[in-house]
């Protein structure tokens, strides 16, 4: 388990970046989804993995002894998921509008703003 999660995070990052470099706009958004999932998993990994130790201070002690399940990364991941949900819904509607106007999905042809006017 200790080695599997970093490998999965790496695979998600790699797959996300690969999809970001494709020519189609839809594949770009899929790349962002994968990359966002990879980042969320990275945040989760950074608060060390501890099985079965909830963050509750026992009666006899003042601080929690040893390793415990850290609640802070979970709050960070929740916020990050909410924000990326908003951004992805904007992206999907942007795809619909760009396709209606430019009639193509190909990012190499959606470049009239780069023309020398």
């Amino acid at each position: 388990m200790n080695l599997l999660l970093p490998i999965v995070t790496g695979v998600l990052y790699a797959a996300g970046i690969y999809m970001l470099l494709r020519r189609s706009f839809v594949k770009l958004i899929i790349g962002f989804t994968l990359l966002g999932n990879g980042v969320n998993l990275l945040i989760f990994l950074m608060g060390r993995l501890a099985k079965g130790k909830p963050p509750l201070i026992p009666d006899y002690a003042d601080v929690i002894p040893g390793l415990y399940a850290d609640p802070v990364p979970q709050a960070l991941i929740l916020t990050a998921i909410v924000i990326s949900f908003g951004l992805q819904s904007f992206a999907i509607i942007l795809i619909k509008r760009v396709y209606a106007i430019a009639n193509t999905d190909d990012l190499d042809e959606i470049n009239t703003t780069d023309d020398y006017a």
Binding site: L78, V82, G86, S89, I93, K96
Partner: protein, 138 residues
């Protein structure tokens, strides 16, 4: 998707899912749940209704345009965050009522903040989905 099975099932699932979303909202402080998840489940209710009966029927069911839920939720969250300032404490500090209320448990400013988040999420998701359904009809 105007099938008879979906319409009948929606008629029975609607109140159950709404109750479930309120349950998730109210248990959010000490157990998994909270405003965002409750809002998403509640908006699933209305999306299911829109898929089965059409967007106009859902708008009639809601009463008001879902875009108005967003400022109501924001105002509720802002007021509940500013309330501790009156008592001299810091912004967004939790003020809790001493006696526990019957079903909800302890009542405090955190619950009103969560209800505000709940309303904002319903408003946002319903605005997006209902606009998309209307765009598709054209």
């Amino acid at each position: 998707m105007n099938t008879l099975i979906l319409r009948t099932a929606t008629k029975y699932l609607l109140p159950l899912l709404l109750l479930f979303s309120v349950f998730i909202l109210l248990r959010g402080h000490y157990l998994p749940g909270g405003g965002f998840v409750g809002g998403l489940v509640a908006s699933i209710v209305f999306v299911l209704h829109a898929l089965a009966f059409g967007a106009e029927a859902t708008k009639k069911l809601l009463g008001l345009h879902p875009g108005y839920l967003i400022p109501i939720g924001l105002a509720l969250a802002l007021l509940s965050a500013m309330m501790p300032l009156i008592y001299g404490k810091a912004l967004m500090q939790g003020l809790w009522y001493d006696q526990p209320v019957l079903i909800i448990g302890s009542l405090g400013t955190a619950i009103f903040f969560d209800i505000g988040v709940f309303l904002v999420v319903i408003g946002v998701v319903l605005t997006i989905i209902l606009t998309l359904i209307e765009l598709q009809k054209e």
